[in-house]
């Protein structure tokens, strides 16, 4: 693993990271069909810190998120969420942790992550209702959140199919916020949005960071998270190949894959790699 700066893997400054992943291995399948999806991944996110996890499709980004959320079992290594070691957790202990609402996940496709038969209000209040909060209080808290995500109250009675893509993404973020989580994992939060909605979502994320929430932004596009993330971790074929501050990774990429990413991102300053240079980097990666 190439590290842009010594010690960059750890949080910027925190007594207890919101997320701490150490030497994580994840496998899919059994026997001969067993395939390693993550290998020796170590990563931590401090409260109030935003970490961008970058990688191409199939690199293991979503697998890492799903392992942190307990949807995929870890093969080796450890995962600590909000100070609690969750590596050996069974179904019941996972449910108890999730009910506390300390970790939330914003899915890649907000349309499919909202039940098409439930109104926006029902979807928003669901995490609170699961915790056992009364319907009236849950509804009041949902309404109080709407301002923060720039949504109007009349949307609450609508179905997800009646909202625009940007509105749905903000509903998904609001749903993640409603339990007051310490850590939010966002899977490609802006990749399907137009530039106006993208800016709005990124502004909301910056406000969250200022409020002390730890954010793990997953994306295939370095350009879309480099401006928001404090640190960037680059995942390639299941391994973290480079981590560092966003400035370090973009300004002085060490690993050939990161150089290729920086060179291919049209939105980044210094993304000047020409075609020949990109092909040379690709050739280097495949040797």
């Amino acid at each position: 693993m190439t590290t842009a700066a010594p010690g960059a893997v750890g949080p910027l400054a925190s007594p207890r990271p919101a997320l701490e992943v150490t030497d994580l291995d994840v496998y899919y399948g059994r026997g001969r069909g067993r395939r390693q999806a993550l290998s020796g991944v170590s990563l931590s996110v401090a409260p109030g810190e935003t970490v961008g996890l970058i990688g191409e499709t199939g690199s293991g980004k979503s697998t890492l998120a799903r392992t942190v959320l307990g949807l995929v079992r870890a093969g080796a290594g450890s995962v600590r969420v909000a100070g609690e070691d969750v590596t050996g957790h069974g179904g019941r202990r996972w449910r108890a942790l999730r009910r506390r609402g300390v970790v939330q996940y914003v899915f890649q496709d907000p349309l499919r992550s909202l039940d098409p038969d439930l109104t926006i209000e029902d979807s928003l209040t669901e995490p609170l209702l699961i915790q056992g909060t009364g319907r009236a209080e849950a509804s009041a808290r949902a309404r109080a959140l709407l301002d923060r995500v720039r949504l109007s109250e009349d949307l609450l009675e609508r179905l997800p199919g009646e909202l625009s893509g940007g509105q749905r993404q903000r509903v998904a973020v609001a749903r993640a916020l409603i339990t007051g989580p310490e850590l939010i994992i966002l899977d490609e939060p802006v990749s399907a949005l137009d530039s106006a909605n993208r800016v709005q979502i990124l502004e909301i994320l910056k406000e969250l960071r200022a409020g002390g929430v730890a954010l793990l932004l997953i994306s295939h596009d370095l350009g879309s998270v480099a401006g928001t993330a404090d640190r960037v971790a680059v995942l390639y074929r299941g391994e973290l190949v480079e981590t560092g501050t966003a400035r370090q990774v973009v300004g002085d990429p060490q690993h050939p894959y990161t150089r290729l990413l920086v060179g291919s991102a049209p939105t980044l300053r210094g993304a000047s790699a020409d075609r020949a240079e990109r092909e040379a980097l690709r050739a280097l990666l495949h040797t």
């Binding site: 009910r99 899915f107 039940d115 038969d117 669901e126 699961i130 199919g161």
Partner: protein, 296 residues
């Protein structure tokens, strides 16, 4: 969903026909103008003021027999459908959640039941337990249950793997919560379609069994039994089988019509229907065109 079904013309027709059939089943024996079992010398008579649908070969009033026999036919078909629903749908939903062993056992059971010919099996059960429609219908219901098992399982599987169920899981939802809040709404429409179809199939099964004289003791009247007795005297009363056959046909048709209506108003299509109505209401309220439904 009931309101949406009734908003469709086909749904209203189906519900109206089935309501009349249900009324016949409940009130039939009291509505019968004459004793359905009373014989007379006036055999194979044509329709008249005294006998609206004529008389059969023993001089019994056919109209009274049809009314009296509707209860057995309706109850029999409901029994088949309800037994199939309980035996099939509940394990179908649970097979997704109760682990691989339960899933494997229920799948193999469903495969086995599908392989058994239900009409022959019902005849065999009656031979074993004695001539009674109830036991025959319970067994037939169990044999038809794989339909509900498959429908409920397929609908549950598609919901269980959806991101919104994962979102609920991440929020700490239990299996019970997920079934109540997310799965039930999605599984009910296909089950309702299957239920309406099975009630129709149930009518055919009850009529087939009673046509063969199985399940009921003569002289108790049933629609299938009337059809059979009338068929024996076709040369004397060629119009005789028309009424019981028509009743069976219309009932089965109404069940299928209801199934189609439920399918048309549920799921994605149903939401589109509601969106269209909202858009139309908006247009009328504002007096100008508004795009339907919003972004998808």
């Amino acid at each position: 969903m009931v309101r949406r079904v009734l908003a469709l013309t086909s749904g209203r027709i189906a519900v109206a026909v089935l309501a009349v059939i249900a009324l016949l089943a409940v009130l039939g024996p009291w509505l019968a103008p004459q004793d359905p079992l009373a014989t007379s010398d006036n055999t194979l008579a044509a329709a008249s003021g005294a006998h609206w649908l004529g008389t059969d070969h023993l001089g019994r009033d056919v109209f009274s027999r049809l009314l009296d026999g509707s209860r057995v036919s309706v109850l029999g078909s409901l029994e088949v459908a309800l037994v199939a629903l309980v035996v099939g749908a509940i394990p179908g939903i649970l097979s997704v959640y109760l682990g691989r062993v339960f899933e494997w056992i229920t799948l193999r059971l469903a495969d086995t039941l599908v392989a058994l010919p239900f009409l022959l099996f019902a005849v065999a059960v009656i031979a074993l337990l004695g001539n009674g429609l109830t036991q025959a219908m319970v067994v037939t219901g169990a044999l038809v249950s794989p339909l509900f098992y498959r429908v409920a399982r397929a609908a549950t599987l598609s919901v269980a793997r959806s991101p919104y169920v994962e979102a609920a899981l991440v929020a700490g939802a239990s299996t019970g919560w997920i079934i109540r809040r997310h799965v039930r709404v999605k599984v009910l429409p296909p089950i309702a379609v299957a239920l309406a179809q099975t009630i129709g199939v149930g009518f055919v099964i009850v009529s087939s069994l009673t046509f063969l004289g199985i399940g009921v003791q003569p002289p108790q009247p049933t629609w299938g039994g009337l059809l059979a007795s009338d068929l024996g005297y076709l040369s004397h009363r060629p119009w005789g089988p028309v009424t019981p056959a028509l009743l069976i046909m219309v009932t089965v048709w109404a069940c299928n019509l209801l199934a189609d209506a439920i399918r048309d108003v549920s799921g994605e299509a149903g939401r589109a229907l509601v969106n269209d109505r909202k858009a139309r209401a908006n247009r009328l309220a504002k007096g100008r065109p508004v795009s339907a439904g919003g972004a998808r």
